[in-house]
């Protein structure tokens, strides 16, 4: 029967959780790409109609609030995993 000492068991579990945290943080690139696309479109929109600047900034702010919150879900899970 294969037996391992308790420290080895704890080491394996802890290393698995740290690897999982590193994988979970890959989801940080999603909102970045999305927000960058929106910023590019906003630039060309302002060039088209310089009077609608307030409306454009407001619309983009609402879009960014929702789009930037999905990256934080993965961050919460990753920090819970890393610090035991």
């Amino acid at each position: 029967m294969v037996e391992l000492s308790p420290e080895v068991i704890e080491m394996v579990i802890r290393s698995a959780s740290v690897i999982a945290a590193g994988l979970a943080l890959i989801a940080g690139i999603g909102p970045g790409v999305g927000m960058g696309y929106a910023a590019g479109k906003a630039t060309s929109a302002v060039r088209r109609q310089p009077e609608a600047r307030g409306s454009i900034v407001t619309t983009m702010l609402l879009g960014q609030i929702i789009s930037g919150s999905t990256g934080i879900y993965s961050l919460v899970i990753a920090i819970y995993l890393v610090f035991t």
Binding site: A39, I66, Y80
Partner: protein, 147 residues
């Protein structure tokens, strides 16, 4: 009603409604519970307010650049915000006098408020439309009845 055109007014409206809705968790934290959930929640609220203000400044700065430059600018600034969120959550996790879950919920309050605001607007708009339809039906009935 999203007839607000000025970004500063929009920020103030969002923050007003967020603080109104966040009275519930603060009252819960005060009445039945420890001091840690309250502190964590207020921490999350304050940080999310500051990051909202930072985002508006970034957007206004990026509207005068060329198209590809604006994309890279906003992407870099988002990674800086991500690092700020990382530091805040790590501090809340390692500190025994701050609740981790309450901080995470505090960081999400603004998004929750915006979604609830949209839902209420849609419900109110639907009710107004139905009221107008009923009024039209009543007017048609009285016209036909009169003639």
């Amino acid at each position: 009603m999203n007839n607000i055109n000025d970004p500063n007014k929009m920020q103030i409206e969002i923050l007003k409604r967020t603080y109104l809705i966040s009275i519930l968790p603060i009252a819960y934290g005060l009445i039945s519970g420890e001091f840690e959930t309250l502190l964590g929640f207020i921490f999350g609220l304050v940080i999310s307010t500051l990051i909202l203000r930072l985002r508006v400044i970034n957007i206004e700065r990026s509207l005068d650049m060329a198209e590809e430059k604006a994309e890279k600018f906003i992407r870099n600034r988002y990674f800086i915000e991500y690092t700020i969120y990382f530091i805040v959550l790590a501090v809340a996790r390692l500190n025994p006098s701050l609740n981790f879950l309450a901080t995470a919920v505090g960081l999400f309050m603004i998004k929750f408020t915006v979604l609830l605001w949209m839902l209420l607007d849609m419900v109110r708009g639907g009710l107004n439309k139905k009221l107008q339809e009923y009024k039209k039906l009543k007017e048609d009935k009285t016209e036909k009845g009169g003639n």
